[in-house]
Amino acid sequence: MKVTLTVNGTEHAVEVPANTLLVDLIRVNLQLTGTHVGCDTTQCGACTVHLDGRAVKACSMLAAQAEGAHVTTIEGIGDPENLHPMQAAFREHHALQCGFCTPGMIMQAIDLIDNNDGLDSQTIREGLEGNICRCTGYHNIVRAIESVANAS
């Protein structure tokens, strides 16, 4: 089937089998490999992208469900010369180590900032409940998100 969607501002019409997951369309068909697959069961959040402005786990929705949607992946929010404030904060606060969960974590963090007022450490921790990081113990991730929340 053909799925038409906008990814990082570019419209794509992609021919995929009907059972294709959104994350596979992003990684395999569009070759945007910043979005990762960590668990296959919606538990780890490494596949988190934005769908029409809200964070979703791309491993557990079909590509077809994104028909007509605007999808933003980690590649769409900034690049090394022009980092998104959340990307810059993750680096400044050493909020990543192996980097595998990081794209999903950043996309979730941006969602938290965009959709909440007055984020504090506890609400940030609760908001990250769907994303597992095995490296950082979350301490520095919370600091990074706090710094962006306080700046905005």
Partner: protein, 788 residues
Amino acid sequence: MSEALEDTGETGIGAPVRRREDLRFITGNGNYTDDLNQPGQLYAVFCRSPYPRARIDGIDCDDALAVPGVVAVYTGQQMVDDGIGDLPCGWMVKSKDGADMLSSPHPPMAATVANYVGEPYALVVAESLQAAKQGAESVYADFTELHVVVDLATATASDEIYEGIPNNLAYTWALGDEDATRMAFAKAAHVTTMDLTNNRLIPNAIEPRACLGMFESATGDYTLYTTSQNPGLERLVLSAFVQVAPEHKLRIVAPDVGGGFGSKIFIYAEETAVIWAAAKANRPIKWVAERSESFLADAHGRDHITHAELAMDEMGRFTGLKVQTTANLGAYLSTFGSSVPTYLYGTLLAGQYKTPNIYVEVQGAYTNTAPVDAYRGAGRPEATYVVERIVEQAARELGKDPADLRRMNMIQPEEFPYETPVALVYDTGNYEASLDKALDIIDYAGFEARRAAAAEQGKRRGIGFACYIEACGLAPSKLAIELGAGVGLYESGEIRVNPTGSVSVFTGSHSHGQGHETTFAQVVSDKLGINYDDIDIIHGDTGRMDFGLGTYGSRSLAVGGSALVAAADKLIEKGKKIAAHMMQATPEQVTFEDGQFTLQDSNQSMSIQEVAFASYVPADYPEDLEPGFAEKAFYDPNNFTYPAGTHIAEVEVDIETGVVSLEDFVAVDDFGHIINPLIVHGQVHGGVAQGAGQAIMEHGIYDEYGQLQTGSMMDYTMPRADDLPDFKVDTTVTPCTHNPLGVKGCGEAGAIGSPAAIMNAITHALGIKDISMPATPEKVWRAIGGNS
């Protein structure tokens, strides 16, 4: 952020430099194995045994081969028939009677008998992942179930799994003076006894294992991209032992690797089978584990049952420690599985204390479960758990403050080097300094007030300590090889100053989250006085660097970093000769500092870049010197390094629900000199989180039939952000005495001290002697009198 971690723009040793590798990770430009593809690649899916022990009477591949897109089905028996060898265990541990350990045969894929659930016995390769999955669903193996051994407590009394391995025992290993220890107990004024379990953990790096194997038939070259912590070792084992390909024809690349924690050290069936199959199919083959495969077939960690006794005199001074441990090895001896519960465990049982007599005996038992091997800490968390739980309990029994009892027994700074009764020589330390600092940060004096406040909220608050020591940067090679290690413990490093003055650094260490690309550049920049940004750190590709042993056991900086210092020293020596020639002096008259070669008592000097240029364009150059400006070094440490510190946990237990909340956690660690404090703090945070996971949540459980009950992230609980507090991390410094940087290892300490500290806090809160890890709400609730 504390002042020490503010970015000042400095890049030398000790500066909290922001990591250079982050730029690719935060922008989605990382290069992980699953991000790589080759034209014409096939996809592999493994068929795995659903039985914990079963004979394979036949495999029917006809239906699988009929699935459109399926190219081939390869079986374990075919690998054996092709002459592919067993996956070896790299450390020959001897039993206390001197006998060699008994190894079970371990073909990469099960050929005749499968010995744990999830063990692969065939792989299907197909044009698409979907076809490979369908193919794997259509392979029918004819299994005959055999009796199983699952329970560790009864494993050594169960029927044999392997012919010729009586009592399912690989070895009964012992260390220490048994008679002297017995005498100490005979004279003891008080003996504290504990029975402890160290729960099985499943590592769960967030990147699942993956590989991409290629074979070039025209040249006979093999290339294997794989999620490995030590590509050099992987190449050695796959060529010398498994004999998949000759070493010079096999290139192993471990690109960006998404976390390891030990689980990506080992040589696994999957990458072995994939590189073998790639040559058979003459097509690139890619395999990526699904998470459920990671649970089944990644090596697990810990899993000990221990009986321990601590003898004390009337003052509370420790006079003897006896430890009897049964360690679960799983169905096969994994790459380093034999050494973890022996040399990395028994040797650490002195802890920070002057206990004069120690005797430990370890039974390594086979069970029909996934192999058990190193997981963050590897043996040292288990040792620390025994020592620090029993010491805390002794304090309670003696009515002493647990900090005071520890202090009384600690090795004092002036007593180093200190030889323990369990074979190690601690080079340096100041244990009370860490303890004092930790007590101060946690506000120990204020605990009772916090406890009272919690009680008013219906919560029980407890505090617990762990004063751990660990040994990392495993060494030296000669001793380890005498003790049965199959490889050396050195590391390689090469520094090439290029003709333009930029620097390419090659290290046998591998970075999969530790930030070597930053830290090692800081070291080289500092040593050579070359701009940090002009230095590139290259690792993870056997096609580019010398043989090296990779990253495990918190060794990278202490061993790999020291190799780079040694290479830098060689470069400086050569540079002095070149500069002396050009400045018409002798090398002895030339000094080197901050990137400048200076002629003593003159205003003449040359930059290292000028010297490098002269070496590549040798117009005015010493006749007896080779051109070029690159040096390599293999560094073999002459001792372990001994990080030590104090971890203190405070917990609150909700009496209604049994939920344990980790309220506060202080870690004060002595890692010697620190190259990058930002990275060191991060390593501690991550280690503590995994230790907290072990204490409160994580448990790999097999049912009585040998089926893994915790086979997904829904069933195996790991810490999430709202399960953990902010951590309070600080350091003390006694520099390591025997490596050039004065550094120790920081990667595992967090996971080593924290489980004991947290469990001491929980048992303190509950007023009970013990509760087994993990202290789940149900267990705690029952322990405090909930209905059972």
